[in-house]
Structures are given as C-alpha cells and as structure tokens.
C-alpha cells in the first residue's frame, strides 16, 4: 500500500474523467432516450400480451418476460443512473435526479440518501456503509459471528426474492424506525414519520398497481395479469439482487475502517472505490441489462458519469490501476457469482 502513488492515481483517473466528460453530448442523450423508449414499449407491450394469454399462453410468457425486462431497464439503466445525476446535464425534465422516480417499491428519495450518499461516500467502510451486508449478512471477519449467520444463505435467497422490499426498507432499518435501538453514529436526515409515510405510500402504490388495479381492469383475465405481474417483479428482483451482489460482494472486494479513511485524499478515495467493487464481463446487451453496473469499478470511481461511457473508459481505468499495482477485479458472470456465493457461505461460520 505504501508503494502506491496516490497523487498519480488521482491525476490519471481525473484525466480519464475530465477528458470523457468533455465529449459527453448528443450520443449519450440519444442513448438514454432510446433506452427509455424501449422500456416504454416493453412495459406497454408486456401488459398487452398478458391479456392475450387466454388466446395463446406463450403470449402470456412473452408478456412476463417483456414486463420483467421493462422493470429491469427502468430500475437499472434508467432509474439507478438517472437518479445518480448522470444525465442531469441534459436539462431534461423527465430524466433528472431531482424528479425521477422508479418502478420499484423503494422511494427514490430514500434510495438517494442511503445509496447515493451513504454507500457511495463511505463505500465498504465498516460501520458507515450499511450496503455492506445490508445489516443481514456477515460477509467479513469485521463482524462478530452470530447464530443467525449459520442460515444466512437462506436469508440471502429470501433477500433476493424480495429484493425491492429490502431496498425499500433499508433506510428505515438503519434508522431503527420500527424496531431496535437507534445507533449513536446515525444522524437521521428525515423524520421517522416522513420515512414511514413515504415507505408505505410508495410500497402501497406499487402493490395496488400490480396486484389490484391492472388485474381488476383486466376483468375476467384477473389471474393472468396478477400472476404475470408477480413473475415480472420476481424476475426483476432476482436479476437486480444478483448483479448488485456480484458488483459488491465477491471474495476479492475489500473492507475499510473509518479511522483509516479520515482526511483521505482524492487518490485514496479512488483506491477505496476500486477495491470495494467488482466488474462482470459480458456482451453489450448484458451490460445494458445490468445498468452498466457490470462496470461497478468505473461506476464507483465516477458515479455521476453517464453509464453509456463506462465500457469505453474501462481499459483506461484498468491501466491506471495496474500502473499503481492495484487489483482490477473482473470476471465472467458465473465466476463472479460463484465467488459471491462462496463468500456468503464462508462467513456463515466462525
């Protein structure tokens, strides 16, 4: 660690950032708008195909896949990245971090606080970044082993199935809104009453939309629509959970301590971001479906750079890290996912 020239690292990565941002423009605007357009076609197409399930069940299957795809695009490539402020420069009223709200149970403002601020500022700092293990899983020796960790693989599976609700409840759990004693290091930015109101309001609207309103509007096709919505949500939950775990919890991702990060320089901050993340190799369509979180290292280094640029800068980032002898953790999907599963299992036990 002492051989790393942090100033050089910061200079190199800043140069990548500035030279890339200088070229951001029409191409990037066209890209995100085309993704939003595809998302709309998938969402509307999927809901229409549900209704044709009684004619040909395969159409219903196609509807499930299309709606699942729409939710994945909305949550990952559009919602996550737009809410990070990556496309604020477009001045588009529909695509900016101030106003965008996504098709998921989690209230966007809550996610912004916990994810954009807490996770991206204090990435993998034990005790500061609640995303590390989500307060449910023991993923390093930094946490004391407890009996419940023995069955944490089951906990992980449950979290994946219900992922949107996990994300939705994340801030409330950290603030101990319903249960538990408030931790002394947490300074809640929002009143508990507001947190509860927004949690129930957003969650209820998502439930009503997918499990009451659209099924009722379908009349005799109630069950076709209800079950289609359920499966589309499940597909989205499993996909987003899997991609996010691959980006954060492979065996190679490092943890850090608060005292080591005090007064850290830009270079040290970059170093922490790089080692706290893992990439996933794949084809272009795969990267789009992950919201380019398959380039988690690049995302953590430059969280407000348009995601459309992560693939382009990845070789330069890798070279800058290699120059300082810093690992660039990447691998195929199955390699990274196996590594995640091993880590969950490994820390289930003392």
């Amino acid at each position: 660690m002492t051989t790393i020239n942090y100033q050089q690292l910061a200079d190199d990565l800043d140069e990548i950032k500035m030279s890339t941002l200088a070229t951001v423009g029409q191409k990037d605007a066209n890209y995100i708008r085309s993704i939003v357009r595809k998302q709309r076609f998938c969402e509307i197409g999927g809901r229409i195909l549900f209704m044709l399930g009684f004619v040909q069940p395969l159409l219903w299957v196609a509807g499930v896949l299309l709606l699942g795809l729409a939710k994945i695009l909305d949550n990952m490539e559009i919602g996550h990245n737009v809410m990070h402020g990556q496309y604020d420069w477009m001045n588009d009223k529909q695509l900016n971090s101030k106003s965008y709200e996504w098709d998921i149970a989690c209230d966007g403002q809550s996610w912004n606080r916990v994810h954009n601020f807490e996770h991206h500022t204090y990435t993998n700092i034990i005790g500061k970044d609640r995303d590390f293990g989500y307060g449910l899983l023991r993923l390093s020796n930094d946490f004391k082993w407890r009996l419940k960790n023995t069955w944490q693989f089951i906990t992980y599976l449950n979290l994946s199935v219900l992922f949107q609700w996990g994300v939705s409840y994340h801030e409330l759990a950290g603030e101990r809104v319903f249960i538990g004693k408030k931790k002394p290091n947490r300074k809640g930015a929002v009143a508990h009453s507001t947190l509860k109101k927004r949690f129930f309001s957003k969650g209820a609207r998502q439930l009503i939309k997918d499990y009451v309103l659209f099924p009722v509007l379908a009349g005799p096709l109630f069950l076709w629509v209800l079950s289609g919505n359920f499966l589309a949500n499940l597909i989205r939950n499993l996909w987003t959970s899997t991609i996010i775990f691959c980006g954060h919890f492979t065996e190679q991702t490092h943890t850090f301590y608060e005292q080591d990060c005090k007064n850290e320089s830009q270079g040290q901050w970059y170093y922490r971001q790089a080692l706290g993340s893992s990439n996933i190799k794949g084809a272009r369509w795969f990267h789009i479906l992950t919201g380019h979180l398959s380039f988690q290292i690049e995302h953590h280094l430059f969280p407000d750079m348009p995601s459309s640029r992560y693939q382009e800068i990845a070789p330069k980032v890798q070279a800058a890290l290699q120059k300082q002898g810093i690992a660039y953790n990447t691998g195929g999907f199955f390699q990274q996912y196996t590594s995640v599963l091993k880590r969950i299992l490994r820390y289930s036990f003392k």
């Binding site: 605007a29 709309r40 420069w89 001045n91 588009d92 971090s97 965008y100 912004n112 930015a189």
Partner: protein, 347 residues
C-alpha cells in the same frame, strides 16, 4: 375529463407528473421534438442578418394560443444532447402570425454565450424546437395618449410587434428611438413602410457614440408614455430620466449583466421569494447552512447530489469542473457551486 384522470393515474402509479410525460418517448417516435409540457414548433427558416443577428421563423403546432404584441416565449432547443432554454420576445404581431402561421424571433447572437453561440448550428440539425405559452405584460397600453418607444440593440423586437399591432388602433403620435451599433439596425425596411402607412408614426435610428444621451430625442412636451427595452444600463438611464419628469414608464429586461468574477463579489440570491446575499468566495451550500436555510448536505464533494437544487436563473461556477453554468434553468449541486451572478433558486 380523461386527461386529469390519466394524469393522476400517472402520478400515483407511473411516477410521472402527467400521462403526457410518461408517453413522451413514444410520442417522439411519431412526432420528433414532442415534449409533454411545451409546444412543438417547426424551424422553417433561419437567416443570418447583419450585426450577428438571426431571424428565426417558427411554425408552432395548432394548439399554440395567439400572443399579444410585446409578449415573450421561452425557446427550447436541443444542442449536443442538452436542452437549452432562453426567453425571447416575439418580433411579430398577432396579425402577422395569423396571416402567415409563422412566428418570428430576432436573436442577437453572442459567440461567448452558451445559448446563442450554438443556436444557428443547433437549429440547422434539429428541424424541431419547443416553445412555451406566450407571457409577459410588456404590452401596449397607450391608445389615448402619445407614446415613445426606446429600443437598444435587440430590444427592438417587442417594438416591432407592438408597432404592427397598435398603429392602426390609435391616432396619437408614436415615436420610435432606436439605438444600435452602426450598421446593425434591424428591419429598417419594415420601419420605413410603417412611416409611409401611418402619419402618426415616426422613428430615428441612432448609435450611442454619436448620440451619447439616450433621452435627447424624447419629446417631453407631449407627456408620452415611455416603453423601453435594451441592456440593463441603457434602461436604467431612461428609467431615471422618466422618473425625473414623472412620465409613465414601462420596460422589458432581456439580458443578464455579468460582472467580472473576483473573490469578494457579493450577489443576491432569490430563494422561494426571499432575497439573500451571498459571496463568491464560498460555496453556496456552506453559506446557506450558515443562514439556516432548508438545504440538505450530503457528501460535500459533488458526488451524491443530495444538496442539488433547481437554479431558475443566473450563473454559477462548478468548482469540480471549473465550468460556468448556463444562465437558464438547470440543476446545480450547491456544495460545488460558486455564485458568479445574481441567482434565483428553488430549494
């Protein structure tokens, strides 16, 4: 009936402010440039005139309501992926619009400006742009007494619209005093034709260096109403003069005066209708926190966007990129923003 229901449905379940906003990406497949909260306008003609002026002809969609002479619109164009919006006064009367179906804008371009420097190129590649509803109260009110119009540079635009609209509605004297740089007076043929058509209209074309006093040509004996549009200092001089002589005065501001940046500049910031003073030697977030304004601090280093707010007008410098913002509406991060001009913000 259906629209409010769909809009409420969209707010609750589709997470968009209106149904139109939700379907905007689909509508754009069939109608390029269509935007939920703006009117679409086809760019029919863009002509470069003397003095770096552009004459722009736009054909708005049929739903666009008719304006009153002297009113302005906001023009939104997409330049390199960025939606840029500026306010311009229409340089055509409602009668001219009805006759041709076209709106005319006269825009003075500035190569240093974020917007007008890109305008000609942007309109050359984007056949569609967007305009807002007409608004503004700089309209003619002097049917029963003489009036004098004083225009500086591109401040001629509302005057052109008002003259065409109102000369036939009044018999009282209307005089135009038109200042511009030498060789940069616009629409001189139109003005000449109006003098031939209406005996009660006259005009003088002046340049500042040859006629240093703006108010020399005002005939104060007639006690005219004064309408003025031009640069800030220009209008201030006329306003002071009219106040002295107790003349009725109307003005239209169209330009932001940009002081040179030094570390000790003080600027006024309007936030939710309250005015505050800030300095340029400290980021806005720190100053707002000290004033106990309802701002939210996040990372403090321009990453998390927690402190983001809407800048309605004015210029800030982004300390991360060292770039100046546009003058128009956009999102800014307070923790890395330094005031460079007076600002209006929405927290």
């Amino acid at each position: 009936m259906l629209t409010p229901v769909l809009d409420q449905f969209s707010k609750w379940f589709l997470h968009h402010q209106s149904f139109a906003a939700y379907i905007e990406p689909i509508m754009q497949v069939f109608k390029p440039g269509w935007r939920a909260d703006l009117f679409r306008a086809k760019v029919v003609d863009v002509q470069a005139l003397s003095g770096q002026f552009l004459s722009i002809s736009l054909k708005p969609s049929k739903k666009w309501p008719i304006h009153i002479a002297g009113q302005h619109i906001s023009l939104t164009v997409e330049a390199n992926g960025r939606l840029l919006t500026r306010v311009f006064t229409l340089a055509c009367s409602p009668a001219q619009f009805k006759a041709t179906g076209l709106l005319r804008l006269l825009v003075k371009t500035d190569q240093q400006g974020h917007f007008t420097s890109q305008l000609q190129n942007a309109l050359a590649v984007q056949p569609w742009c967007n305009i807002s509803l007409p608004s503004g109260d700089f309209v003619f009110k002097s049917w029963h007494k003489p009036s004098t119009f004083i225009a500086g540079g591109s401040g001629i635009t509302p005057m052109l619209a008002m003259l065409d609209q109102q000369l036939s509605n009044t018999e009282h004297q209307i005089k135009l005093i038109y200042f511009a740089k030498a060789g940069e007076h616009q629409c001189t043929n139109e003005l000449k034709m109006l003098t031939q058509q209406y005996n009660h209209f006259s005009y003088v074309m002046l340049t500042r260096d040859r006629s240093p006093y703006l108010t020399t040509h005002i005939n104060t004996d007639d006690n005219p109403d004064i309408y003025c549009c031009g640069p800030a200092g220009f209008m201030q001089e006329v306003a002071d003069f009219t106040r002295l002589l107790n003349l009725t005065y109307y003005q239209e501001s169209f330009a932001l005066s940009m002081p040179k940046l030094t570390d000790d500049n003080h600027f006024s910031v309007i936030i939710n209708k309250d005015t505050h003073v800030v300095t340029s030697n400290e980021v806005l977030l720190n100053q707002f926190e000290a004033k106990k304004l309802p701002v939210q601090r996040g990372c403090g280093i321009g990453i998390c966007h927690q402190c983001q707010c809407i800048k309605k007008s004015g210029v800030v410098r982004n300390l991360k990129t060292n770039q100046l913002s546009d003058t128009g509406e956009q999102l800014i991060q307070l923790c890395v923003s330094q005031a460079v001009s007076d600002l209006e913000l929405q927290l």
